[in-house]
């Protein structure tokens, strides 16, 4: 019983797109913005690749709060799940979304994560699980602040309300799936009035009543949905579908409530240019035929007869229209239409055979993944315009089914992944080439650079050491003044010279010694007198020396970085490249195997569908041939009957003419007889007179008789 509601319910895919909820001015991370740039264009692979790299980098750093992603990392975590869901990576999406639910996130993000997870469970045929998850959707939440005080926060706004409505809608669908229809109705009620759910909500709401044994309410809802006025193509198609279903219900002969007239009203509600128009025109004809109104059936069927031959309804109309003419005893027209149908069916069977061959030789799969599909949304439909591709109109219903679409998406994804891997292999080749060229250029230069670097390095170290000594001395002077340390070189020369001379002079009371002392005094005087200024100048000099050394160090570091970068530009890549290449080749082998399986499955589905349509056409063709022959016979019979009738009528006319002639002759004979009688009577009178004259009565009588016989 569980399969029933699952089939009846129309599932609207709930909107899942992180970037839709992202206010532009709030962006604090360029890389996350780039992820949404891809996600918004439905380039989910590129989006996930960027987001994975960004998150990996974020979780690797120690001080995450300094990373620009820190302000959005909850959204980024949740986006992984959402984008994975869009990319049909359900296993990983499930994990990612549950991880978000286990972390501290704002209420709106949490509700969206709950909805996404429930949607995932529902798609995995776990409605019970979806209901349990949806129970955690909240409009208010209690949060603890830093002072361990609790406060209540609530969410509002369009986004928040939409998420809650989507959750109620999904919960209702889940209740329908497990047969709890009254609860489903309650949940549907909560999701009432949201524009984005319009139509689907209405249909499913009606279905819930139907399943809950409230047929009148359900029918009223279906009926009202079948009468809505809308410009939305999807909603208009849904409206047509509902009307068609209601019409088919009233057309069902097994239904005690079958009422073809009522059915015709519903058929007539279906648009003539909508996707269900062919079925409606066909049904409308059959509805008219049910009360033997063949003339009325001819109108929709003639219209349908002119449409695309590949449609099942059109093909049926090619049998139905001559049938109606036949019933109207227009056998010639019927026979001609059957003849036309036989020719058309023959041509279509040939096309189907050719299509089956093309599917078998791989043209179908090749055409489906043609790059033009990226620019043409109706690519699958328009495949028929290409040479060497099958007639896709025969498999439109198949291709529109969710199952086939899922296979097709998988196949396309795998094809793109294969291209990505091919591109990666080419990139690896290019990288190796770059590395080899860099090595060839840099390695010969390195020894000379290294030697020069060592010289500069030792000089710099020496200078730094000298500077440190100076700084140390100056600091010591500050604590314990040592003016002689600040003597200029000439002063130090003078003092040294004076000391030498002092040692050479034996008497310290002589004039020469006195002079030396005075000289020494002058030198020291200058040193001591200028001590403060010299100390200040020394500090200034030390500071300027620091600037120079800083610049030297900068240049040194820059050189170290460049040298390191130069080495790193070709060192350490061999192992990763070899490993990645091996992984790519392994993944490619697996991918090609799975893609072949998926492709074979699609080809099988397509061939089976084409074969089904072919058998159907063959059956029509046989019936049409018999009907054509029968109608030709009837037409010929009718023609010969008409000829016989005409001959009979002519004969009858001739007989009448003969009778008339005979009558006229009779009349003439009568007249002659009368005349003869008159003559006789008169002759008798005369004979008597003549007999008396010559006695010749017998001869005259014979003569009159002869005359009368002429």
């Amino acid at each position: 019983m569980r399969v029933l509601p699952a089939i009846m319910i129309l599932v609207l895919s709930l909107p899942v797109n992180a970037s839709k909820f992202f206010a532009r001015d709030e962006l604090k991370d360029l890389h996350l913005g780039e992820v949404f740039f891809y996600a918004h264009q439905q380039k989910y692979f590129e989006a996930l690749a960027s987001l994975d790299a960004e998150l990996a980098q974020f979780y690797e750093v120690d001080e995450r709060q300094l990373n620009s992603l820190a302000k959005h990392h909850n959204l980024a975590d949740f986006s992984v799940g959402e984008i994975e869901l869009q990319y049909r990576m359900h296993k990983r999406a499930d994990k990612a979304i549950r991880a978000v639910l286990g972390s501290e996130v704002d209420l709106l993000t949490r509700n969206r994560a709950v909805l996404a997870l429930a949607n995932l469970l529902y798609q995995k045929d776990d409605p019970q699980g979806a209901i349990v998850v949806l129970e955690s959707i909240k409009q208010k939440a209690v949060v603890s602040n830093s002072d361990d005080e609790e406060s209540t926060t609530s969410i509002s706004g369009d986004q928040a309300e939409q998420v809650i409505a989507d959750a109620d809608y999904l919960k209702a669908l889940s209740y329908v799936s497990i047969g709890q229809y009254s609860k489903a109705i309650e949940s549907f009620e909560k999701a009432r009035g949201f524009e984005h759910l319009e139509g689907y909500w209405h249909y499913n709401y009606a279905t819930a009543f139907l399943l809950n044994n409230q047929p009148e309410r359900a029918f009223s809802l279906y009926n009202s949905l079948g009468r809505i006025s809308t410009d939305d193509p999807a909603l208009a198609a849904l409206k047509d579908k509902v009307n068609l279903k209601l019409a088919n219900f009233f057309m069902d002969k097994n239904n005690s409530l079958a009422d073809p007239k009522q059915a015709k009203d519903f058929f007539d509600r279906v648009r003539l240019d909508g996707p269900f128009s062919n079925q409606a025109l066909l049904g409308s004809g059959w509805a008219a035929l049910s009360d033997e109104s063949y003339q009325r059936a001819i109108v929709p069927w003639t219209l349908l007869h002119e449409r695309n031959i590949t449609d099942e309804s059109v093909q049926e109309s090619m049998m139905a229209l001559p049938y109606a003419y036949s019933k109207l005893q227009v056998y010639g027209k019927a026979a001609n239409l059957y003849h036309y149908a036989v020719n058309q069916f023959t041509a279509e069977i040939q096309r189907l055979d050719q299509s089956i061959r093309m599917v078998r030789d791989g043209s179908f799969l090749k055409a489906m993944t043609d790059k033009r599909h990226l620019k043409d949304e109706n690519w699958l439909v328009n495949l028929r315009t290409l040479p060497e591709t099958p007639e896709t109109h025969y498999i439109l219903s198949l291709m529109a089914s969710a199952e086939f679409q899922s296979f097709y998406q998988n196949y396309k994804d795998l094809d793109k992944l294969n291209e990505t891997l091919d591109h990666a292999l080419t990139s690896l080749d290019a990288y190796e080439d770059i590395i080899a060229k860099r090595r060839a250029y840099i390695e010969p230069l390195l020894p000379a650079i290294e030697a020069r670097f060592k010289q500069i390095d030792s000089k710099l170290r020496l200078r730094v050491e000298q500077r440190d000594n100076l700084a140390k001395k100056l600091n010591n002077i500050l604590v314990q003044p040592r003016p002689e340390f600040l003597a200029f070189s000439n002063e130090r020369f003078y003092l040294n010279r004076i000391a030498q001379l002092e040692r050479k002079i034996p008497s310290k009371s002589g004039q020469s010694y006195q002079r030396l002392q005075r000289l020494k005094g002058v030198v020291l005087w200058n040193i001591y007198r200028e001590y403060d200024r010299r100390l200040t100048d020394s500090h200034k000099s030390l500071m300027s020396l620091d600037d120079v050394i800083a610049k030297e160090k900068e240049a040194y570091n820059s050189f170290v970085r460049t040298r390191q970068a130069a080495t790193q530009s070709y060192e350490g890549y061999t192992i990763p490249i070899t490993r990645i290449r091996a992984q790519i080749e392994n993944t490619k082998r697996r991918l090609e195997g799975v893609q072949a399986k998926q492709g074979h499955l699609m080809e099988t589905l397509a061939i089976n569908e084409l074969d089904r349509r072919r058998k159907r056409l063959e059956s029509y063709q046989i019936k049409a041939r018999f009907a054509m022959a029968e109608n030709y016979d009837r037409a010929i019979k009718a023609e010969s009957d008409a000829e016989i009738k005409a001959i009979q009528e002519r004969k009858l006319q001739l007989e009448k003419e003969q009778e008339l002639l005979e009558l006229q002759n009779q009349q003439q004979q009568n007249q002659k007889q009368q005349m003869q009688e008159q003559q006789k009577s008169s002759s008798e009178t005369n004979s008597e007179e003549r007999a008396s004259l010559n006695g010749s009565d017998g001869h005259n009588l014979n003569l009159i008789t002869e005359m009368a016989g002429v």
Binding site: F37, Q41, S569
Partner: protein, 187 residues
Amino acid sequence: MTVKVYTFKPHWIKQFILNLIFATFVLSGISLHAAEVSSDELKGIDEQVQDIKKDVLGLTSELKNLEEKLLFPSNTQFSVFVSLTGNNNFEIDGMQVKVNNKIVAYHAYTFKEVEALRAGAVQRIYTGNAKSGNHMVEVSFVARDSSGDTFQKNASYRLEKGVGPKFVEVVVAGQSGSGQPIAFKDW
């Protein structure tokens, strides 16, 4: 909207359900009878596809890191990003980026890309290398205003590249009356 209520005998519901089921099976029956594989096998293929996607994503991530390290090392990396701001009363058609008077990027926008930018996304238009020091970035874009007239704007920015990677965001505001049509943001 006119709502007409039909009253039926209770047993009609079963017929209606059967009818709907039949109709639905007719539509989906194609695949149900045609598929020569079990649902477990279908599930298996789907899971294998998911595993491959996961593996390729991992490989792409590794390759991206390798590429960045090899071609755009962090000490020289320099990227230009584009975003839109303002009231969206224009439609951007193309963008050109020059670095030190040399054209490094030109991009013609698709409808989807413009929509993504309008939704708040950011486009990386250029990634290259630049040495430490000052560089001149010149940006110009071509767009159409609400009346369909084409206009062009340009602006330049002197950026100082340090030791680490450098990211510059070009914020396009269209024909902004008061503010700048193009603003630069250093990240």
